[in-house]
Subunit: 233 residues, 2 copies
DNA sequence: ATTTAATAGTGTAACAAATACACACTATAT
DNA sequence: ATATAGTGTGTATTTGTTACACTATTAAAT
């Protein structure tokens, strides 16, 4: 509690693991810190929770500052309170993760605050060394997402509204880190009856036009109780 | 932040949902508050987190004060930070749940602290009205436990070291709130190969002695990835 | 001694879900 | 014309899930 940290509102912070999906890869938004401690290091976007806002609101604020978007899917992950996680004393952080359609972004993220020098998307599989215990927080997030996509349709939060089954499969493969069988994936995914087949096609990277689908939100809830698994590899 | 709450260490608290299992019922340990606000109301055991302890340590302290036991299974549940959850201002609470073998208790729990007038086990299905948002916290805990027993062997934390398959099944039934098929339950549970058959039997409530089992801790981990489900009813 | 009541313990057949697996079709680039 | 990259499709096998009913044992009551 030295060094000019504001007092009443500085006891705890939030940090947010923002996931995006592009080019078949999962990405995480990191900021380059412009403040001590860890000045110049990469870190998760996060900030002190103000005294008159809920934690959720603080996270929404951080998300908006970094992406310019509202209404992003987010969920509380875990609260970290190790005595040594912050060099300036025991600062508790409530960590969240958020899932973002990268296509919705108008431009590269620009940090609105001055605590960050820049904000950059990093591939999840090639992260730089991170400040504080942020690496640990990211690891815990990805494990949660990995589990959660098998029983709830959160994966769709990472895709554009209209998507091909191939894109959806690539997303699952990226999150789980293993290849899935195309025929089994499609069979199972379509069987859940939560996808609406659109009359449109998309050329994309492929040489052949692929059918577009979108999530049928009315049928969303059904899957929430089931478990999804896919196989081969 | 009025009325004499300590400052630096009073910004957030922990509350702990302590589950126990006895007489075929899930129970929750509640205290009767002896302090304002909500003096005389039933509430979850909980307290301010001291400035030099981790959140986990604070919960362990609370568990020990109320049960006299150490090494109890516990896990962080969620952090609640609504502006209106506490009448004296925004006090954040990190909620935990704990699973306890009631047989390990030497005696009825006696509150060691003076913020509680008494501590009493309440059946989960017949709870009194609770202080703060504690009812909400309990609801969220039971949902987590319900989910978690299907992919991890936490249920055993609620049973004595040696138990019969009937006891184990009753526990699952209590947590899920529905009857399970005896033959299917046994078949599946034994197939997981995480139970060690003991050469001992126990009479218990039954008229016929029943085989005792214990958890085989070496094989524990295997189940952690699978999902368990049982059927009929 | 016999009966009653409570509980332990056991197997199989039908069905559903998960898995492994390979080729033809189309558009594009050269 | 041909090579390339990606879409889309069906079946047989194995595995897991479900429904279902009786006998054996013992304590307690008569």
């Amino acid at each position: 509690m030295q060094s000019g940290l504001p007092h009443l509102q500085s006891i705890f912070t939030t940090d947010c693991v923002i996931f995006g999906f592009k080019e078949g890869e999962l990405k995480v938004l990191l900021i380059e810190r412009n403040e001590y401690p860890f000045k110049g290091w990469w870190a998760l976007p996060g900030f002190f929770v103000e005294h008159n806002e809920t934690i959720d609101d603080a996270v929404k604020r951080i998300l908006y500052e970094h992406t310019g978007l509202r209404g992003i899917f987010m969920e509380q992950l875990y609260t970290f309170g190790d005595l040594k996680r912050h060099p300036q004393g025991r600062i508790i952080t409530v960590a969240y993760y958020a899932l973002l359609r990268l296509d919705d972004l108008k431009s590269q993220p620009e940090p609105v605050t001055d605590y960050a020098r820049q904000a950059v998307w990093h591939p999840l599989n090639d992260l730089p060394e991170l400040a504080f215990d942020h690496r640990h927080i990211i690891d815990k997030s990805i494990m949660k997402v990995r589990r959660k996509i098998s029983y709830s349709p959160i994966a769709f939060e990472l895709l554009p509204e209209k998507f091909t089954l191939t894109q959806l499969q690539q997303l699952y493969e990226a999150i789980w880190g293993r290849k899935l069988d195309k025929r089994n994936f499609r069979k199972k995914m379509l069987n859940y009856n939560i996808l609406k087949e659109l009359p449109e096609f998309q050329r994309g990277v492929s040489y052949r036009a692929a059918r577009l689908y979108k999530l049928d939100k009315r049928k969303y809830a059904k899957v929430f109780q089931n478990e999804l698994t896919f196989s081969k590899d």
